[in-house]
Symmetry: C2
Subunit: 256 residues, 2 copies
């Protein structure tokens, strides 16, 4: 009987050319699909790659995490190098190392950090067009900061999710941090929490953009949260500005 070894991969990708993370039938390119094809080629047999969670079409990652059970106790010496030599250039394995016993990319995770990048000027520099959300109207970052503070904490975020009925673990999450960095042209939203509902970061970004444009006030956030249902007041901001920045595996900050 062959033994296998569980490995942990840190993966970055440009989401522009992918129909998201999760495997889909051909002809749709997905990040999971590309990784599984490369692992199968190197391992000599099909092997599942388990991500920490999905990302949608057009969403990018700097620090997605996945685990894989390598069907042999001796994976290639420098697996990161071997995988990058074969992977298409819009996906890179940044790290590949043995995982601690029982490690699971999704269920061991204690939280995530997303970053949402906005370019606030008359035009987006063309080389950044796939990785910045364009906002031509002048944003008020101070109002956005005031609004962000009012959304931090343990709350029912149903009003900031796209499909609350489908959330198997309910709609209460802890948003540890929601920061608005920069004053333009580049504005970056940093969202860190114990978990995020479907399209929650893009909904938070959509609301903060409205506040920045003066269409909503910071105090509207708590009122919308309390309403508990998604309404047209909260638009979903574009995918292109969003990066899954980091998956957290330390002790949960809730317990800290």
């Amino acid at each position: 009987m062959r033994s296998s070894q569980r490995l942990r991969l840190t993966v970055a990708y440009d989401g522009t050319g992918f129909r998201g993370w999760q495997l889909q039938p051909a002809p749709h390119r997905t990040v999971q699909g590309e990784l599984e094809a490369v692992v199968a080629r190197l391992a000599g047999r099909p092997v599942r790659v388990h991500g920490s969670g999905r990302t949608d079409t057009g969403v990018h990652a700097r620090g997605q995490v996945a685990h894989v059970d390598w069907p042999d106790d001796r994976p290639p010496g420098d697996l990161r190098w071997s995988m990058n030599a074969v992977l298409p250039d819009d996906v890179r394995v940044l790290e590949a190392r043995p995982a601690p016993p029982g490690f699971h990319a999704r269920s061991s995770s204690t939280g995530k950090e997303y970053r949402y990048f906005i370019w606030n000027a008359k035009a987006v520099p063309p080389e950044l067009r796939h990785i910045r959300t364009w906002e031509p109207r002048r944003l008020d970052p101070q109002a956005m900061r005031e609004a962000a503070v009012l959304l931090v904490g343990t709350r029912d975020f149903a009003a900031f999710s796209a499909n609350p009925q489908r959330e198997v673990s309910g709609t209460v999450r802890t948003l540890h941090r929601l920061e608005v960095r920069g004053r333009g042209p580049e504005v970056c939203l940093v969202a860190k929490g114990d978990g995020f509902l479907y399209k929650m970061v893009r909904s938070l970004a959509g609301f903060l953009l409205r506040v920045g444009r003066g269409e909503r006030r910071p105090e509207d956030g708590p009122r919308i949260l309390a309403g508990g249902v998604r309404t047209a007041e909260v638009p979903t901001a574009e995918a292109r500005g969003l990066f899954l920045w980091k998956v957290l595996y330390g002790p949960s900050r809730r317990q800290a």
Copy 2:
């Protein structure tokens, strides 16, 4: 008789999908070709777009400048907006305004600023793969700074150009500034001068990268300059890291 009006355009582009700035026969996409097609469409007749100079295949721009004689004394109200509505998304007109009398994008220019971006880490984040030069070996920015300082000034840069025989105005140029910014992963070279020979910035970058890797010493720069001929000691760094950042039209710093 119709009058015309000379306009000055500031243009940004992602050079990845272009065979450089200068118009070429089909099927080659060029930035000048795209701009002339759009101007012809808006003006109703063919109009030449004159750039400040060429950029090579794969080289980007944040601040290329061009002039155009609009064949009418009344160009569209918001020409920038009209052009961007029709241009492909890898070119943007950042500004369009009436040019002062006698303005010529190339011959009125008193200098240029280029920036060369290096990503010094085990892998380039995939969304930056077309706009950063990857350097996996650890660079020594201090040595690069020492080397850069020794190259600044009015000198014969023939040894740092690709085709010195073809330079109609000789090979002496004034490099006002050559800076090495950052310590990694992102390192940015800033080169500002009264003019640059063919592939001069990429040659300076290629040499500084060698110094950063410890393959050459800072003092080798003046020796190579003095040699006056291009040798294999100076490699041409990749196009993808290079941006034409700004074209200068103020009074020349030589006279200041």
